[in-house]
């Protein structure tokens, strides 16, 4: 992407006084900021805290699972810990992760504009998110929640003796934050692209954000109303889900998965967008089949709304409904598989550089492929009957959501770290941590496929002794995985002060975000850029013919 900005003509050295980080040093300059970049940083700090809390819960119950009798914890504590892990990781880490952090920070810069369409709404979304998150944490700390993150009825409404209401309220409130961010993104992408930035010149990350935002806007209201129904049945005893009150317990599962299956795409589509940017930048070429990758994000978002019933093959839903859901699920697999082909073919005849962000992108490819392939066992009805609610499912969705979602998030965080902070992370440590995380992840979750096929049910505090050896392997892997995350947290914090000063474009990448300084000025670009090429114009040398005179007027401020 080539354009002309004052920034490139008169580069401002990183670390100098004038950029978004130095525009105010007080706490209130952060808490009342409407700068999308600072809001992205606020989200980053909050999400890291939630991730560490969710991870700590996992460490505790993984240690407990070392012995079949579960000697470390009581059942009650174990149940509350896996519920906490699920609620925190899904609602307060994975769903917001890439959109709220990288999306907020990058989207306006990638579009060549000053901010999102509704900056105050953007700040409000963070406050709403924190209100939801703190309410959920309050529920967890003061008594705990033991319904599982899935809140299946009638257990959650009539039988659980824990803070279900508070946790449900937390998730309900956090949903509004997702909706605000999604609305902001859709409007910003439609209305605020820089001159010359047509839809098919957009980075694939922006396409992914667009598809994700549509899923959030259409799906989140459904789960919100479902959570209200839990509230109404639990508090007021209106019979909605409990048959003893005249309700239907399976109705809850339909409503819940109508959102929660698309929510998987809310977690994975942004990561696919990041990986497209990484593979392109570190191969120095346009993604193979750009249009296919862009459209397939939309296709996955749409088809994703019609497959929820594949979570319910053994729930007593009609067998014919199950047949249709299974059939449609295989259709989602096709565009997903072809995306992997597109990424692989981008490397062919490219100029491949294996720096840490690219290693995460490769990690994504490997783990997400395994996650996707194991999805076939679960969309096939006959094998799903056996595998449903076993550790096979646990392993599958961790490969998709952590192997896919988190690897993309970490790859993106490393890739844009110099842009966000103005400093490079230490490359050697980053490569070491990426390898430790990859090995630890596989050792944790691969044995769980075998556990699942041999019949180990999920959410079990005590288990039959034949499963112990595989559980011990899994716990060993989790320790390595946790160690990898800690190394990464350590060197990233270290780099804030001691990292090498990054230039505007340390990777030689061609996206618009690399044309401004690192860290960017509060206005992102001192002059609105005029875009003449797509975000992957690696064949067009940036120094040549595209440079034109700066346009004096500023758009979209």
């Amino acid at each position: 992407m080539t354009m002309n900005t004052v920034a490139t003509d008169n580069p401002v050295p990183a670390g100098s006084e004038k950029h978004y980080l130095t525009n105010g040093h007080t706490l209130s300059s952060w808490l009342f900021t409407v700068d999308h970049k600072r809001i992205g940083i606020l989200y980053l700090i909050s999400l890291v805290v939630f991730f560490l809390l969710g991870g700590a819960a996992a460490v505790l119950f993984r240690l407990d699972l070392m012995t079949p009798a579960g000697d470390l914890l009581r059942s009650e504590t174990y149940n509350k810990l896996f519920t906490m892990h699920g609620i925190v990781m899904i609602f307060f880490f994975l769903i917001p992760s890439i959109p709220a952090v990288l999306g907020n920070f990058l989207l306006p810069i990638m579009l060549g504009t000053r901010d999102v369409a509704f900056p105050k709404l953007n700040l409000l979304s963070w406050y709403v998110f924190m209100a939801g998150g703190l309410l959920a944490l309050f529920a967890i700390v003061f008594g705990g929640v033991d319904s599982g993150w899935t809140f299946y009825t009638p257990y959650s409404t009539m039988y659980a003796n824990s803070n279900v209401i508070l946790a449900v309220c937390g998730a309900f409130i956090a949903g509004f934050s997702s909706i605000m961010t999604a609305l902001n993104f859709v409007v910003t992408i439609h209305k605020m692209r820089a001159p010359g930035l047509t839809w098919f010149r957009l980075p694939l990350f922006v396409w992914a954000m667009y598809a994700t935002s549509l899923v959030v806007l259409l799906g989140t209201p459904v789960v919100a109303i479902t959570l209200v129904m839990i509230f109404v049945e639990r508090l007021l005893h209106f019979g909605i889900f409990d048959p003893a009150l005249g309700g239907d317990p399976v109705l809850f599962q339909h409503l819940f998965w109508f959102y929660s299956h698309p929510a998987v795409y809310i977690m994975i589509l942004p990561s696919m967008g990041v990986v497209s940017e990484l593979i392109s930048a570190f191969s120095r070429r346009r993604i193979y089949g750009y249009k296919f990758v862009a459209y397939s994000s939309l296709a996955i978002a749409v088809i994703g709304f019609f497959v929820w019933g594949h979570h319910m093959f053994v729930s007593s839903q009609s067998v014919y409904a199950g047949l249709i859901f299974s059939f449609l699920t295989f259709f989602v697999a096709v565009p997903t598989a072809i995306k992997i082909l597109n990424w692989t073919m981008t490397l062919y005849k490219g100029s491949v550089s294996l720096q840490a962000p690219m290693l995460y992108a490769f990690g994504f490819l490997g783990l997400f492929t395994i996650g996707g392939m194991t999805g076939l066992f679960l969309s096939t009805m006959a094998t799903d009957i056996h595998l449903h609610d076993t550790y096979f499912v646990v392993a599958h969705f961790h490969y998709v959501m952590v192997g896919g979602g988190v690897m993309g998030f970490l790859g993106g965080l490393h890739f844009w770290w110099p842009k966000m902070t103005g400093r490079m992370y230490p490359e050697g440590w980053a490569i070491f941590a990426a390898i430790v995380i990859f090995v630890g992840f596989n050792l944790t979750f691969f044995p769980q496929f075998q556990l699942g096929y041999h019949g180990m049910p999920r959410r079990y505090h005590e288990y039959a002794s034949q499963f112990q050896i595989l559980h011990v392997m899994s716990t060993a892997g989790a320790s390595i995985l946790g160690f990898g995350y800690l190394i990464m947290t350590g060197y990233l914090i270290w780099s804030l002060k001691f990292g090498k000063v990054a230039g505007s474009n340390p990777w030689g990448a061609r996206g618009l975000e690399w044309e401004t300084t690192s860290p960017p000025p509060t206005e992102n670009f001192l002059v609105t850029p005029v875009v003449k090429h797509e975000a992957y114009a690696y064949d067009v040398p940036s120094e040549t013919s595209d440079v034109q005179e700066p346009r004096p007027e500023q758009h979209n401020v």
Binding site: S75, Y152, P154, Y159, D242, P243, A244, P249, S283, R285, I287, Y288, G289, F292, F313, V314, S316, V319, G322, L323, F330, A333, V334, I338, L341, T344, M345, L347, Y348, K349, S351, V352, S353, L365, G366, T369, M373, L376, F377, S379, T380, M381, A382, T383, D384, I385, H386, Q450, Y453, H454, G455, P457, R459, Y460, E462, Q466, F467, Y538, D539, P541
Partner: protein
Amino acid sequence: MNSVFNLFPEQASSISSEIDLLYLFILIVSVVFTLLAAFLVIFFAVKYRRRSEDDRPEPPHADSKLEIAAGAFLLVLLMGMFFWGAKLYFKGNRPPSDAMEVLVTGKQWMWKLQHPNGKREINTLHVPLGVPVKLTMTSEDVIHSFFIPAFRVKNDVLPGRYTQVWFEPVKAGRYDLFCTEYCGNEHSRMVGWVEVMEPADYERWLSIGTTAAASTAAGGGPGESPVDAGARLFAELGCVTCHNQNSGALGPNLTGVFGREETMTDGSVVTVDENYLRESILNSQAKIVAGYAPIMPVFKGLINEDQLAQIIAYIKSLNDNGTDG
């Protein structure tokens, strides 16, 4: 004990090996594609590694042919997987008509089971080798799920309705039984055993009589079969006053009604199965057969799950012997 490092767990039912064959097929497809993708990524990354900072590769020439070809190939492969899985699923879903029926009730945190002759047990299910067994299941509280890994069968057990699972054991032995839907504090203790016995041993076991503990816990008279208990209740509760074979009876004659299609007062057609009978007894006004008045009392709260299952077992038995309703 079968090691967890074997590819397959114990194959103890007639469908176990068929499910494993399908599993093996998907596994081979997955391994081939995963290895192919991994090989290509690593091979390209090495072969086309950046040799100079001035590398400026040509952009890819994608003309959609590769994507369309790959998509078409995958679609065919996946449709094969879909049909194979669906066919096997339907087979596993339809119990043979001569299957032996065992009643299962789940509650926090135990499994209560009752055999056709009335014998009850808790958390252990004795079944004869080589005989198809159908479990008719319901729950007294939350959702549970009945899972026997060695048989490759599972179904959720719901409050307020009946679900079923069937299997035909092909190997004698003792197999794990797990609850696989999270149901509260002691979910992981809602486990038990399935004992597959030689048919003669099973008959001997059946005739020993109920254990005192089981029959007390489960309620109902020891040794009385569900059908007999149902017949007794049918008389005691006065059902027989309206549901009989006399012309001009106020309720439908129930002989042979099970499995039949009946037209309702609103014109809809309903197949009479366990769930329809359940609803018609507990909430009798919900769906009434055309030609009858809504005069039947509501039995919700008057009978418990066990009694309801017994009455339904009795109504079903009227198909076999054609006795008076």
